[in-house]
Amino acid sequence: MAKSDSPMLLQGTLDLLILHALQRGPLHGYSIAQTIHVLSDEALKVEEGSLYPALYRLELDGAIAAQWGVSENNRKAKYYEITKRGKKLLSAEQETWNRLSVGVQRVLARQP
């Protein structure tokens, strides 16, 4: 089914991106997807099929908190906000990701 031209996201990376997107302030699901899309220079597309389960999981883990609010076009929307716990998780995940991507790049830069 995955016919998209955008790369598949690694398991766990989506959490990192969501938490990163929420750092600036509370956002609803749609704008989280949009933020990621824009920040990646339109390289990444987050499908709602993976976005919302990831949001619910993060909420259950206590990394983000949800609250109903009113959107910019005056509609009821669910806003997500990063928690203290989420911030801790974010820095830890970022650390892991940095090490991983540096490692992968190093490997790929050299001939075996």
Binding site: S4, H28, G29, Y30, A33, H37, K45, V46, E47, E48, G49, S50, Y52, P53, Y56, R57, E59, L60, D61, G62, S71, N73, R75, K76, A77, K78
Partner: protein
């Protein structure tokens, strides 16, 4: 934690939220003409739901419901399993309750952990002044004293009886914080004539009337005001279920007291010990005695593990219970293996169901879980049944009046420890009897070509294991039965079949005078001798097995001038004693009648002569006892008796004439030799003694019943282990029967073919019996091998002369197992032989 909280409280709103949120997302995307592809809304909702659910718990619940339904479809299996497990768990928890009561129960006082028993000078009891001295030293928060083995005469208006009293210091109840059911405890400012009643005494002798508080009862001829009644579950400081009838302030001047103290807050046992040592040194200066208080100091906790650590008798009791628990655990294992066998058979019947579920995509882990849940259901039903059994056994044990000269009441309550133990056992049972069959069923279903596992190797293996275990258990049981037999056959050294024993407790106030006591003894002997059917009557200070006074002293022999240090059991008796008790006088004679002779006379037993008087003929020799001026002459040598337990080695004994000793006691025993059955004479004996002194407390019984204490350990051991052993055998034989019956039913077709081809029916029966015999043989061999090593430590509980490695025991056990096993296989063999070839060929 966070997850659980959210799940519990926000679950309801979750579904609604998801739908609304997705709608919003779609609207936004549509409004912006966004190219981000739409997912399937239903899938997202389902995923969200999965995330929010207690998946594990919900699956478990479904398994429970399903398991209960499938067990209801095979009630015979469920009943057998619950019965086996229930019996196993019941007996285990029952023994565990006994162990808890004997070993770990704490006395009914507030904060029992801070109460210690104190011994000084190596003696368990001390004078009242010593108790006061320790209390005045301020070392402890408080110090109390009690004498727990006193008898007191109680007059109920019609008759005087001896009852068990505890004499105590008046601060006892307040310092220890003893709970009271009605009224109050004794207070320090109370007068001397107050009494607190034991619950059982109050219920059985005073009809449980709460209005008795404030009234008086007559003790030792004086009115004592009842101030309070103890609760039914009261546990005394001694433990072991010892439940005296009444608690009174110390009323005899010469009563010595056991010391108990409450530690100050934060005080350690080490500090207490050091403190007691210092106090004892000052005590030695203040009240010099022949011994030193500062020696032999013991400070011991009154309950729990600390007590086990510091008392060797408790360790022996502990080891006995450990052994019992191991044996009972083996029985439970047999029960579990039994159930495992049943489930295996059922598993092969359910193979189809499991195969269907597997092919529909169920994980094999989930199926194992499902099957384990079914076993757990059985195990918990087994626990419920087992605990019911335990309640029944506990009630029975609490009702049983042990044949003991002491008031023992056990409180086998179902407390948290017992419940926890039962639950642990259930878990053990579920895993043992469930895991193997469950894994196997699932594996077989995955590989259907393994289906014809015709020989049922695993089931047979289980039965062999069961038989081996039951043989071990039976060996222990038979050993203890032989022990009982053996100890019954050991002669105590006197006649217990024709003898009546009377214990008289004279009112101490009226019998302070020695001459009055002697007068009474003479009159009582005359009254008893006049009874028809009584051949011989004697008085004695103590009767063997009920008490034993031991002396360690120097005897200075007049003829050689040498002093021998002798250690012997001492008793004072009237001349007729040896005839009444049936003790043979080997040489010499009994005490002469002339009471005014200068020389005092003694009789010794043969062990005494052999150990201390080997240099010359002992008869007629005289010696000086300690510092006394009067010489003692040996006038007779008798065969010895046992003193305290039936299994003991012969001990030196020395008898004095009861009429010549300085008798300080008001308690006298009489023994009567009856020409007829002793049980029929008890009433007449009681009446005769009543005539001699109406106000004395009386206990009259056959000697056989009153020396029950001596036989108790071997009886209890035999009853418990024999019972457990029989249960183990029964369970193993049921298992064998089950496997044989199942294998016959599976081989019906084969047997039909054999018969159709002309096999003799007797051969068929022999075939089945032979395969059973093979299982029994292997099981016995394995069991004997294990038993040989495992029963070795049991030697410490057996009478001397009975070795645990006695070949006779092993032979008896193996024969018993073989016979019952073959008997169990007989039914299936008969059924196999009676198979109708026509029907069996059409079968399947």
């Amino acid at each position: 934690m966070h997850r659980l909280f959210l799940k519990l409280f926000r679950r309801r709103s979750m579904e609604r939220d998801v739908a609304a949120e997705l709608a919003f997302h779609q609207a936004m995307a549509a409004a912006q003409g966004n190219p981000i592809p739409m997912g399937n809304a239903t899938v997202i909702q389902e995923e969200a739901r999965d995330l929010w659910r207690f998946t594990f718990v919900e699956n478990l619940w479904r398994d429970v419901v399903y398991g209960a339904r499938s067990l209801r479809r095979s009630p015979a299996l469920a009943a057998t399993a619950v019965l086996s497990l229930g019996l196993g768990i019941g007996i285990n928890t029952g023994i565990f309750s006994l162990a808890v009561e004997f070993l770990l129960s704490e006395p009914s006082v507030t904060n029992a952990r801070s109460v210690v028993s104190v011994r000084m000078g190596g003696s368990s009891h001390a004078k009242k002044e010593v108790v006061e001295f320790v209390r005045a030293s301020g070392l402890f928060q408080d110090v109390v004293g009690e004498n727990e083995e006193a008898y007191i005469n109680w007059n109920d208006g019609a008759e005087t009886r001896q009852i068990f009293a505890v004499q105590l210091t008046k601060n006892y109840f307040t310092a220890l914080g003893v709970p009271i059911a009605h009224g109050r405890g004794i207070l320090p400012q109370d007068p001397d004539e107050v009494v607190v009643l034991g619950n059982r005494f109050w219920r059985t002798r005073l009809r449980g009337d709460p209005a008795v508080v404030g009234r008086a009862i007559r003790l030792e001829g004086r009115p004592y005001i009842v101030v309070g009644i103890l609760p039914a579950d009261y546990r005394s400081l001694i433990g072991f279920g010892y439940s005296p009838d009444v608690y009174v302030p110390r009323y005899l001047d010469d009563t010595i007291l056991a010391l108990y103290a409450r530690l100050k807050p934060g005080m350690t046992m080490g500090q207490a010990r050091a403190g007691v040592a210092a106090v004892a040194q000052r005590l030695d200066q203040a009240m010099p005695e022949a011994f030193r208080y500062a020696e032999g100091i013991q400070v011991v906790a009154v309950g729990g593990f600390d007590r086990i650590k510091s008392e060797t008798e408790m360790q022996t009791v502990g080891l006995f219970f450990a052994m019992l628990l191991i044996v009972a655990g083996l029985v439970l294992t047999i029960a579990c293996v039994n159930v495992a066998g049943l489930l295996l058979a059922r598993g092969s019947a359910r193979r189809q169901e499991l195969a269907v579920r597997l092919s529909l995509g169920a994980g094999s882990g989930r199926l194992v879980q499902q099957l384990l849940v079914e076993t757990a259901l059985l195990a918990f039903a087994g626990v419920a049944f087992g605990l019911m059994l335990r309640q029944g056994m506990a009630a029975a044990v609490e009702q049983v009046q042990l044949p003991l000269p002491l008031p023992i009441r056990l409180h086998l309550t179902l407390d948290w420890r017992v419940t926890l133990y039962a639950i642990l056992l259930a878990g053990f049972a579920a895993v043992v009897c469930g895991l193997v069959p469950a894994c196997r069923s699932v594996r077989q279903s995955i590989a259907p070509n393994l289906r014809r596992e015709g020989r049922m190797r695993l089931q047979r293996g289980l039965v062999v294991g069961e038989l081996a275990l039951s043989l071990i258990v039976l060996t222990a049981g038979v050993l203890f039965l032989r022990n009982l037999w053996r100890s019954n056959a050991i002669s105590p050294g006197f006649d217990i079949r024709h003898t009546i024993y009377a214990d008289v407790n004279l009112p101490p106030q009226e019998y302070k005078d020695l001459a009055r006591k002697r007068l009474y003894i003479g009159q009582a002997l005359r009254e008893l001798k006049a009874l028809p059917g009584i051949e011989s009557v004697a008085g004695a200070r103590v009767i063997p097995f009920n008490a034993g006074d031991r002396f360690m002293t120097g005897l200075k022999l007049a003829d050689t001038g040498k002093t021998v240090r002798a250690f012997f059991y001492w008793n004072a008796v009237t001349p007729e004693y040896f005839r009444a008790m049936g003790i043979r006088i080997a040489r010499g004679q009994t005490f002469p009648d002339d009471t005014d002779a200068v020389t005092r006379t003694v009789i010794v037993n043969r062990t005494f002569a052999q150990r201390y008087l080997t240099d010359r003929d002992p008869l007629g020799r005289t010696f000086l006892w300690g510092d006394a001026k009067t010489p003692y002459a040996i006038v007779g040598i008798v065969d010895g008796t046992k003193n305290l337990s039936i299994g003991e080695d012969p001990q030196p004994q020395l008898y004095e004439d009861l009429a010549r000793i300085d008798n300080d006691r008001t308690r006298i025993a009489f023994v009567l030799r009856s020409a007829t059955l002793p049980g029929t004479q008890l009433q007449a004996v009681r009446a005769a003694l009543r005539r001699a002194e109406p106000n004395a407390g009386l206990e009259v019984a056959t000697l056989y019943s009153s020396i029950g204490l001596a036989f108790l350990p071997s009886q209890v051991g035999a009853a418990l282990l024999g019972g457990i052993g029989m249960l183990g055998l029964m369970l193993a034989v049921i298992g064998l029967y089950g496997v044989m019956a199942y294998s016959v039913s599976r081989r019906t077709r084969e047997i039909g073919v054999r018969l159709a081809l002309g096999a003799d029916r007797r051969d068929i029966a022999r075939l089945v019996l032979a395969s059973a015999a093979k299982l029994i043989l292997i099981g016995s061999a394995a069991g004997l091998l294990c038993a040989f090593f495992l029963v070795k430590p049991l030697a410490m509980f057996l009478v001397p002369g009975l070795r645990p490695h006695d070949p006779l025991t092993f032979a008896a056990v193996a024969a018993l197992l073989a016979l019952t096993g073959l008997a169990a296989a007989w039914g299936p063999a008969r059924r196999a032989a009676s198979v109708d070839p026509m029907i069996s060929l059409r079968y399947e």
